[in-house]
Symmetry: C2
Subunit: 427 residues, 2 copies
């Protein structure tokens, strides 16, 4: 198992102290000329370089050479598993086709569902693996990954199985989410209630049965629902999340991406781990959110992908003392982007977060949004040794610079993975 | 000298037929299963794979394996040479500091000028080279590169010398631009007229004298001016461009980025090669632009970098039959982004170009904006063999996907440069 002493020779961001609420967001816990001792793939000590060198004089060293050392990103929201693509639909939108014309032409989410249902396990693995690899190469060491392009019992389960396999392959860690309630499948057109009943009465109990023998020691997946006009209404969303909760699943919600149906308030009431998107969320709901432990997950790459101007009222959530994370929302319809650094740069521009706030929102608070804050998201003794070395000597280059990969090396469970050596000329 | 036969086994985009005006923008000249014969670093034949294989059975082959093959990007607008960074200023803006407070704290363009003046030739080369390498790795095979952070005679000349040296180092080609009229230096505060006189009476003639013995066979650089409130007014901009033109320099302008001072109309009248930014350009000027050979260069990464909502009225320019290019505008103040693919993806979202239009605007029309349309920007017999192999099988993935590097291999003057092999897992 990997062991070594990492010398930052520059800014070491620990993000220590747990999830960062409200205006405490952006506490980097910076140590100048810090060092991190890794034993058995875990963090064994953190401190000043001189102290740690003195205490461990013979430890193998890795010198970051003045580059920023920080925790690996925790991407709290992604849809990385699907087959096919929607490039034609993207072009059609720009040619002026309407949403309805695209749907009639076979486009939209249901075209991805069709391609995904038709794909074998091998095809799904082969198409998803490089996406996870790109996410990892851009610094996401832990990734929340949702099903949701199957929308029938067998395919949703196949997607979950594929994600479990990809989690075991690594080097990344995945936190799986069951999102059979992502859209209404064609065979249930205009019968969202029937689909909801089917999901609640049959699929979720069957999933519960299936999980223990198949996922062995893993915690139950999250159950998530897309509460939105045209998807699941408030009553259906409540039915799904209450059923899931009753079976012991931790729950999440997609709410207020376009219309406010009351999903955020309901999710808070049910103790959801996170509520994601939150663009049309009301002032009252922001106050309720801030008084709860539900993490608000902003997904700025989605309005960007759609060229929409509306974004989460993130500053209001921070002012109210809420818990804010920023995720990537990788998906084939609105945001095919594997680079969480772009979501971070967008968070600075569209949510007006500082680089330090955006870094905390994509590390320790991202971990809180998937209940892994005791395992990853910061550089603290006992945690998994998931670290990044950036190709920059100032953490603010994250946010300030955009569109490229600023990660020099990903260290996962103590093992260094150099990224794209050919991109690193001299500095 | 490199020679080989490149088999696309998929989409080969030639962009043949010269610069694309108005609604012809986006003519990709696609050959399915095409091939390109390279001899002496130039394109010797283009056609169907079967024909070219028959005609050249013994030629060494490079199989793109179904990946898109297209011309290298021509980035028509960049400021890649400077010293230092402005990360602190980026953070201060997000913390609510005003423009004036930042200026008073020593920030803004003049802080970059200060750092650049203090940098040695070696430091300038060492800081600029990796930026050019990142641009190249993201597919920009020809790059327009401006001086403009010296603002005194000696430093502006040192920047030009550095760019000439970096051009000769390659693998990229640079088209140099002299932008001493980028801002008013501190020693000429409130004396923009005096600075303009100094530039016109002394620097430009001296530059003309210096060029021939020092740049040997190279065409004269462009002379550019930042015509804007707080920089050079219309009369000063005219004085600079007329002087430059009288000395034989081809001219360019930055106009209408914030305020419309009439610079675009003036630049058209003077036969400027390009007019760049054009955000507050009037309908009348758009018509005049379209009736001219001046190329409108859109720089969507700049409003993005600044989180501003205003963009070039690109569709109006196309409707009027104008010539449109899209550039990157790499610079340390508003857009530190070496990835022209992000500017292309932004052009789809903020200018509403289709992927095909955005591709033409960053290849053949980018070449037209720097007078290299006979040398690069398309895959046609006789042109330099500057090609890209994308890590995608559909050209529309440029635009649709964003935030990562979709370039698999850059071929420059016939020599393949694999990019970031570690990023390419299976597909």
């Amino acid at each position: 198992m990997p062991r070594m002493l990492i010398h930052s020779a520059g800014q070491l961001l620990t993000l220590s102290g747990g999830p960062q609420r409200g205006r405490t967001l952006g506490s980097l816990g910076m140590i100048e000329d810090g060092a991190v001792l890794i034993r058995e793939g875990r963090i064994a000590a953190v401190g000043s370089d001189s102290e740690l060198r003195r205490a461990h004089p013979d430890e193998e060293g890795l010198n970051a050479g003045g580059r920023v050392v920080m925790p690996g990103f925790v991407d709290a929201h992604s849809h990385p598993i699907w087959a096919g693509d929607r490039a034609a639909e993207f072009e059609q939108r720009l040619q002026g086709k309407t949403y309805l014309e695209i749907l009639e032409g076979g486009g939209g989410i249901l075209s991805t569902v069709k391609a995904t249902r038709a794909a074998s396990m091998e095809e799904l693995l082969a198409q998803t693996r490089p996406r996870l690899q790109r996410m990892f190469n851009h610094g996401s060491t832990t990734i929340e990954a949702k099903t949701g392009y199957g929308l029938d019992f067998e395919t949703e389960l196949r997607l979950l199985q594929a994600l479990l396999q990809l989690d075991s392959e690594g080097p990344w860690d995945l936190a799986t989410t069951y999102l059979a309630a992502h859209a209404i499948p064609a065979e249930f057109e205009d019968r969202a209630g029937d689909y909801t009943d089917e999901l609640c009465e049959n699929w979720l109990p069957a999933l519960k049965e299936w999980w223990a023998p198949n996922a062995v020691d893993k915690a139950l997946p999250f159950v998530d629902v897309f509460c939105e006009t045209g998807a699941f209404d408030l009553a259906q969303s409540r039915q799904i999340l209450e059923t899931a909760k009753g079976l012991g699943f931790p729950v999440k919600i997609h709410s207020d991406e376009f219309d406010n149906l009351g999903g955020t308030r309901m999710a808070i009431e049910l103790g959801a781990v996170s509520a994601d998107h939150l663009i049309s969320t009301s002032t009252d709901e922001i106050a309720e959110l801030a008084a709860s432990d539900t993490v608000a997950v902003a997904l700025p790459a989605t309005p960007f992908g759609l060229a929409e101007a509306h974004n989460m009222p993130a500053k209001a959530i921070l002012d109210a003392d809420g818990l804010l994370a920023v995720g990537g929302d990788l998906n084939p319809g609105t945001a095919w982007c594997e680079n969480l650094q772009l979501a971070l740069a967008l968070a600075c521009r569209t949510l007006k977060l500082t680089p330090a706030q955006a870094i905390a929102a994509t590390t320790i608070n991202g971990a809180a949004a998937i209940q892994r804050q005791n395992e990853v998201g910061s550089i603290e003794v006992g945690k998994q040794a998931d670290l990044l070395i950036l190709d920059a000597n100032d953490y603010r280059h994250l946010g300030y610079r955009f569109g490229i990969n600023l990660v020099h090396t990903v260290i996962k469970k103590g093992t260094p993975h150099p990224v794209a050596a050919s991109l690193h000329v001299s500095t």
